[in-house]
Amino acid sequence: MELLENQVLKKDLENNIKLIKIILDKCSDVIYREFVFAQNEQIKLALIYTDGLADKGQVSDQIMRALALEVPMAVPGRVITKAQALEFIKERGLCIHQIKETNKVGEVVHAILSGDTVLLVDGHDTAIINGARGWESRPITDPEAEPTVRGPRESFVESIRVNTSLLRRKIKSPKLKIESFRIGRLSATDVAIAYIDGVANDQVVKEVKKRLERIKIDAILETGYIEELIEDEPWSPFPTINHTEKPDRVAAMLLEGRVAIFVDGTPFVLTVPSLLVEFLHASEDYYERFIFTSAVRVIRYLAAFASLILPSLYIAIVSYHHELLPTALLLSVAAQRERVPYPAFFEVFSMELVFEVLREAGIRLPRPIGQAISIVGALVLGDSAVRAGFVAEATIIVVAFTGISSFTFHYSASISFRLLRFFLMILSGTLGLFGLTAGVSAICIHLCGLRSFGVPYLSPVVPTAYSDLKDVVLRAPWWAMLTNPRSVLGNNKKREAYGLKPTPPESGK
């Protein structure tokens, strides 16, 4: 098979078709259409395409109709010899925007399977690949995983061409480079990296290409495959590669000097390098006014912190450090815990597990019954557990708040926070605040050592890039965002003119 694919086309049409048929044996979706050239009936032509992938309207109207019927109308009376045929067809016969020539059988086969239509001309060892792809695809819809109140509502779809076009519509500059790769022995998935020449760090672009070229795998079905194959620290619970389904977010990332990786067949796009703070930011942060955004971000950071340590803190205080609570609060908690038969650790741990089950069920459930189950889960389970005296009200409050907090920021980061939460709960359940502190320290040490494509994961906080702190917890107004982030690029790049701060017109003039 491999041998066949490495061959080149012959001049004999019959032979070529036979060769392709051998390679595409038992592929019932491949269609072979043989016909004769209208100008000279001696010349046989063959169209080969995959049913469902090629745009049938284009194939029949722009290729077959043109070649089989309309060519004589264009140049009446002219006689085309076999030797001239290919050149003539290319120049006058095809009404297709994009054509390509090849003489390699492998390339022909790939073109057919990718949705292109291949035209073979008798007597020539060159095939014409017509870019007439057209298949059923999902329309561009609202982003499901990253909803926003203000900002673009479109999200990527499964087709890489549509996705890159969405990006191109945001950045209409020749500096936006989109380079294509093909990864996957069987899937031959189109992968593209996008970056802005002159903004992105060349080293990072080179590194991304290097890591992508390293991949030898049978198939790539989602960006997750690539993420795991190219990330810096595969054992870390933290994601070192960000992903998004919003074109505006990708555009913003590229403008800050990052590199995007598009994969055909998925609406998610990877962006590298990624910093921890990115996961706590939303695209909307840049669309809302900066005062509001800064306030919201403070809340989001606090929520992220709470989602990591709140249950463990509760366990540690309730089972080891009663003196940390004010007397009145302690008595109230003590009153609730009075009926509970289990230690606080077991209680919180199991309620957290219950919450995770509910969350997982909420995702997997068929839509129509989702509502019912969440009511059953949240109300019935929580309320009954308290009424029955299995858990204390305070525990429910802590677990519920923690659960809600973990949804205030990027989903993939919240997964790692959630995992670490269980680790911290075990530590604080056995060693109290000491264990919690040790656990948090361990996480901090780990974070300090992480890198994403050469960029320290905690930057711009550690190591501190002071000019980048304008966009961490607080967001500077747009007229003050003078430079691109240094931590991503390695150097500052000016992004706007100075003195853009608007002022009211002088009065009296």
Partner: protein
């Protein structure tokens, strides 16, 4: 990398599993002590009384409302030669582990205080659970009786007395301040006094039947110590004088007669005040100048005269200063001349100023202090008298 990680993982596993939740105390396994009382029993042993919170009584919601009102606390007493021994005996009566971390008040019975408190405060300083910020007070009568008195507004007598102390109407002393006063030369300890009062004469309380409900706790004067023994008491008025002398932030009211109508009174709320004590010598004898500066707002006037004139204001301020000086002198007289203790810390002031002289006289300080001259200067100001300068019916 693998070699580095493996020992760390083992360390974590071993640390968490082998320690086995060491020192873990679930909330429903501890008896939360809210107040501690220490008395001297008839055999001369320590009688330790703890007020332990009954958590279910603090529950809110359904279970708190219905049915009989549960007692919020229970008081348990045990005897022993030391506090720790008494605590061991208590453990036989309380099925949970005694937890001192939230003890608000340490109440010392009068008899115990007379015998000496150093032997009992040690436990509360040394043990790691009790807080050094707990209020220390001396009960007139027994501490046990005091703790057993219930409070209407607060759930327990300890909380009630803790909140009362926090109002700083009396001379509130924390354990750490008390031990500091005990340890230092040139000052003798003084702590707030508390007592149980019967309010049987109060009418209209029939809904709280039974004698128990008619008993209340209240702050009452100040207990004066020589070294660690109780020697006497200051009354409420004299306590104010003590507070002025100590420079404690005084929140209170001074009531003085109006300049023109002596039978009508004016109340002045104190806003801020400061006290400075200067030490000196007159004929080789210690001599002290106390400078007190007070600012206040007039908040009530019974009479009808217009006070917004410089003369009347000055007269009023003078009366205010006089009133304060009177109280300070009263407190000084009681403590110094009757009980002969320097609870004000004059000795410390002297020590700071005259280091070498202090060394010679520190052992006989109480006697020397008795003879020392103390000059009290009060400077009082009234800052605001409100907008009602001309009340209806005020003289024109």
């Amino acid at each position: 990398m693998k070699k580095k990680i493996a020992p760390i993982i083992w360390m974590i596993i071993i640390a968490t599993i082998l320690s086995g939740c060491w020192s873990r105390k679930e909330l429903n396994e501890v008896a939360i002590v809210l107040g501690t009382g220490i008395d001297l029993n008839k055999e001369g042993h320590i009688r330790l009384t703890v007020q332990v919170a009954v958590p279910t009584a603090f529950a809110t919601g359904e279970e708190g409302k219905g049915g009989q009102k549960e007692a919020a606390s229970m008081e348990v007493s045990a005897d022993g030669a030391t506090i720790e021994e008494a605590e061991r005996h208590l453990a036989m009566k309380i099925p949970r582990e005694i937890y001192w971390g939230h003890c608000v008040a340490l109440i010392i019975g009068e008899n115990m205080a007379k015998k000496g408190v150093r032997m009992i405060t040690d436990f509360f300083e040394r043990d790691r659970e009790p807080r050094e910020t707990m209020w220390v007070m001396v009960a007139k009568g027994t501490a046990e009786d005091f703790l057993k008195t219930s409070s209407i507004l607060e759930k327990t007598s300890s909380q009630a007395v803790g909140l009362l102390t926090r109002m700083k109407t009396g001379y509130s002393v924390k354990l750490m301040d008390f031990t500091e006063m005990l340890a230092e030369d040139g000052i003798q300890p003084a702590v707030t006094g508390v007592r149980v009062i019967n309010e049987n004469h109060v009418t209209g309380e029939s809904q709280h039947s039974g004698a128990e409900n008619k008993r209340r706790v209240e702050i009452s004067g100040t207990a004066l110590f020589r070294e660690d023994r109780l020697v006497g008491w200051l009354e409420a008025d004299e306590t104010r004088g003590l507070l002025w002398l100590k420079g404690e932030p005084v929140e209170g009211v001074i009531t003085v007669p109006t300049p023109e109508e002596p039978n009508k009174m004016v109340s002045i709320k104190i806003k801020r005040g400061s006290t400075k004590i200067y030490a000196g010598h007159i004929n080789d004898a210690p001599y002290f100048t106390v400078k007190i500066r007070v600012e206040g707002d007039m908040i009530e006037q019974q009479g009808r005269e217009n006070l917004a004139t410089p003369e009347r204001m000055n007269a009023l301020e003078e009366k205010m200063a006089y009133e304060i000086r009177k109280r300070v002198e009263l407190a000084l007289y009681r403590a110094r001349n009757i009980y002969g203790v320097d609870v004000f810390g004059f000795g410390q002031v002297y020590h700071r100023r005259f280091k070498s002289e202090w060394r010679n006289i520190k052992d006989s300080w109480d006697d020397i202090f008795r003879q020392a001259k103390v000059d009290i200067q009060v400077e009082a100001h009234i800052r605001e008298i409100g907008l009602l300068t001309r009340r209806p019916g005020t003289e024109k």
